[in-house]
Each structure stands twice: as structure tokens, then as C-alpha cells.
Amino acid sequence: MKFSRNGLYIENYTKCTNCGVLIYEAYSKNHVYHEGKIYCSQWCVDWKIKRELRTQQARRET
């Protein structure tokens, strides 16, 4: 979340690219950048890859 300099309003609502949770960078200890995009945690970076693999595997099995 990007607040204005005076702290009175929000200039940008920052959300995790994958799961969509709000990221208050001032308080977040876990957020990461990956390929120029912000993620709330490494789990979300990994999930994008894992989801694709799981979906492909499920398609093969059916």
C-alpha cells in the first residue's frame, strides 16, 4: 500500500500478484519481487509454478 507523503490518503492499493492480499510494505516482512512484480511471500511465487504443474498432471491422469 502506497500512502501519500502526509499519510492522509492512499496513492496505490498494493496487492499480491498471485493471491491478491494487501501488502503494507512498511509492516510486511515476507514480501518478495519476482520478474518485476510484487508477491506477499515466496509461497505465492512458487504456487504459480506449482499450480501449473499440478493442473498439467491432473489433465494427463484424466
Binding site: K15, C19, G20, L22, Y27, C44
Partner: protein, 566 residues
Amino acid sequence: MDFVTMNILESTLVSICREMGIVLMKTSYSTIFNEALDFTCGLADMNGDLVAVADYCPAQIGGMPLLVRSCLQEIPTSELEEGDIVLHNDPYRGGLHTPEHTFFKPVFVDGELMGFAVAIGHLAEVGGMAPGGFCGEATEIFHEGLRIPPVKIKKRGEDNIEVWKLLLANVRTPRQNYGDLRALIAAVDLGEKQLLQVFRKYGKSKVRETTRDLLLYSERRMRAELETIPDGIYSFADFIESDGIEDRQHVIHVDVHKMGAEIVVDYTGSSEQAAGPINGTLGVATSAAYNAILHLTDPSIPRNSGCFRPIRVVAPPGTIVNVNFPAPEVGGNTDTHPRIVGAVMGALSKGVPNRVMAAEGATHGNFVFGGTDAETGEYFACYDIEVVGWGGRSFADGNDAVDSINGNCRIIPIEVFETRFPWRIEELELTTDSGGPGMHRGGLGYQKTLLCLNEQITCSQMTDRHLLAPWGLNGGGEGGKGATLVQKSGSTAWQTMIEAYGKRSTSRYSNVSIRKGDRVRMRTPGGGGFGDPKARPPGLVAEDIREGYVSEEAARKLYGYRGELK
């Protein structure tokens, strides 16, 4: 872990939450609180984790942890003092939708922050372009009422007068809102008082340790439940028929990834956010996933943040399940929310077929209106919940005429409704054949006809299922669709909102001017059926016919009924 103390403490905390709700109900001014019970009360620990909650509105139960967490990121605990109460309704900062106002009060013991008392309530009037807050034609958040970031409405026990003045200057019913806001404050005041007594009785360290154990216990119970569902990817898609602005359907897509004792609810593939007010917020997407899973697991698991830990939610930003600023969102919590719950349950019906019901009506009707009362000269506004049929289940028929799955609210009794508002209810009855056919029949929706007694009432609505019926399951048939019709004074014709007022949608419209002698008729959707209707025992079909649930014609056509009627 001291299991006995943990059980006693858990029951005590839940009782406090229930008592908070009773205070809210008894002290509020609006029918949405004192009759419909559209609120929830809970207690959180010092980290903002939910430790206990009362069984009022499920939408708000699942939304509470995210709400408290968002507030604490903007007002850190170091800035909270004894007697403070924080108010918040911003849907883009953890809220569910604009009308839902969250109050939380820090609880200090010997100067140390030990927890929070939390109350969330749906205010009947929030300003914006339509009385009652549900503007079916909104295209941006600013049409939907006053948005409140986390602010202190009370500081060190004293009213923050400037905040009160701002709040009450921006609504049509300041006296009502004042009473309702005071009722929410009374609820968190009571929560604080009762929680302090618990700390005095057991001591700080005992309460802290026991609530930590309680959350771990719920987590273990939930993980054990999830273990019983076969691993796999379960997918489902459901459709919302229109957003009131564009004439197109929007898809809610869900993939439920079940992996051991954990579950990921992933909404990737859902439609981009809509132009109209059907968008869900992150709070909605999260709460709906929790709600669905709570419905499918052991109801004796204590409801707290612990049971949500094994559940991850992936709600891509900018979609119909996680709206980005400044798109409209008010219907996201009332229509899209239950549809998301239904989609998650629909997906899991392939893993746990006997635990999932067919689709319910999945709308709260959301008929809102306002005007100036000719007798009192005071402006009135009302949010009127319409109830629907629930889906048939593997073991029973669906429930008739109950609030949608995320609401658990009551309808306003006719006597109260007619006393408070200038309408006469001429008809309220279950709709024959609205329950989807099935071995276990869907529950029935109802039909309600209102006669306008005021010179003029401004009406808006935000509902669904006028075009797309609730789905059946395991061979069960679809439930009946809903409808809203108007009969103008002096006419015998019943018209849709498109026909009568040139609106874009029959189910989502704003600021229709209903005049004295006009009638509004609302028919709500029924639930889908479960299982092959031909397998329904003929005795039950005969009883359905006798009771008026099913017509003889439908019984013969859909159920294959061949019996004679006595």
C-alpha cells in the same frame, strides 16, 4: 493442554460474543439489526487472531480476521489506548462491502494490550446515490456511500465528535444511524467488560496460553477433517447473469487443490472485475472459501482463526472475486459471495458428494427503499432481506424460505414492517414448484406483494437468478427462478423493471419511483434438487401435492407420479 479449562473458556468466550449480539439487537434502531440480525460479534487476541465468535452472520465471521489485521496495519497497537474504539468500512482495505461497519475495541489488562472486542454490522443507510445503500446501477465506489478508513470514533473513552459529525452528515437517516452506531459501540463495550472479567478470574498468562491452545486445537481438528477428503483438484464454475450495467454473464471459476491436510482455494480463471456492483472484495473471496469449508466439515470445531490456518485463498486482483479500486462492490457481498460459496461447494461435491447440497437461491433479494413518511415527516430507509429456497441434500429436502448461505438473517415480521414503513404486505406465500425436483427436493422460494401507501417511495434492488436458475446435483433438477414485477396504480398489468421504467436489468436497478397505490411483487428463487426425482418415494410426492409444495402437473411430469390423489 488443560482440556477442561480450554472447553470452559471457549464456551465462556462464545457466550460473551452472543451476549454482545443481544445487546446490539436490543439497543439498535433499525430493523436490519433488531429484526434481521445482520451483524456478528467476536473476540480477537492481541495479534488480531479471532478466538471466538457468535453464530450470527457467517459472511462476517470469515471476514473478521482479515478486517482486524488490516486495521492493525494502519493503526499499530502502539497507537491504541484504553477506551479507544476504531471504526472501519473500507472494502478495499479488508472490508466486505461498504454497508458493513466494523468496530473494534482494544482490551487492556494492567496497561497491557490483551485482545479486542469486535462487532460488525450492516448499516441500512450509508449515503451514496440510492437510499439503502444498494445501488444496482453504481459504476464506481463513490456511488455506493461513505467509505471510512480505520479511524478512532472514540478516543480514551470520549466521542471523537468530528468523526461523528462527518458520518452523520453523509447519510439520509442520521437519527437511525446514530442509534445503530451506538448499538455497535455498546456491543464492543460489553465485550471488553466481560473479557476483563475473564482475565481477572483466570489471570493473563492462563488466558493467553489457553486461547493459544484453543486455536491449535481448532487447527488440528480442521486438518483432521481435511485429511478425510481425497487429494486432487476439484473444479467448478458458476455464472452471474448480469451486473446491471453490461448485458453479459460473469464467471466465478474455482479450483480447489486438496493436498493432505491443507487446501488451496484458487479463483484463477474468474472474470475480470465487472463494470457494475457485483464485484467481491478480498474479504468476500476469503470469507466465502472459509464459509464453504465450514459447511462441509464438523460443525463442532470451534470457530476461530485456528480452523482457517490450513486454508489458503488465491484471489487474483482485478477480478470479480477481488475488486480493485475504484470499481463498485456492494452486491459482491450479497450476491457474489453466496455464489462463490456455492462454487467452492460445487467443486468439492466431487470429493465429498454426500456432504454438499445443491445450489441455493444465493441472493438476499436486497430490496432497499427510502422516502419521507407522510405522517412523521421523517426520512426512512430500509434494507429488506428476501429469503430463498436452499438446495436438496443427500439426506433431506432443502429448507424453504431461509436467508442465503452467507447471511443467516431473519426477515422482518410483517407486523413490524407495516408499522415501521408505509407499505402493506398483501401476500407472502411459498411458491409452488419453485423447489428443484429431486429425490430430495429443493426448498421453496416465496412470493411477496407490497402495496405502496406513501405518496412516493424510492426503490432499488440488487438481486440475481432471474435468468439463470440454481443448479441441481446428482441428477436433481434446477430450482425456480426469481422475478420482480410492478403493477402501477389503476393498471392490472404486471411489468418488469425494464418494461415499466426502461431499466437495463430486471434484477439490478436503482431509484425507481413507486407511487401510492403501486404494487411491487418479488418472487425469490428456490433451491436445486438432489438426486433423481423419479427416485423420490411416491408417498412423499403425494404429500408435496397435498401441502402445495408441488403441483399435480409437475408431480406427474417431473417425478413420474402415477398415484391417485385423495
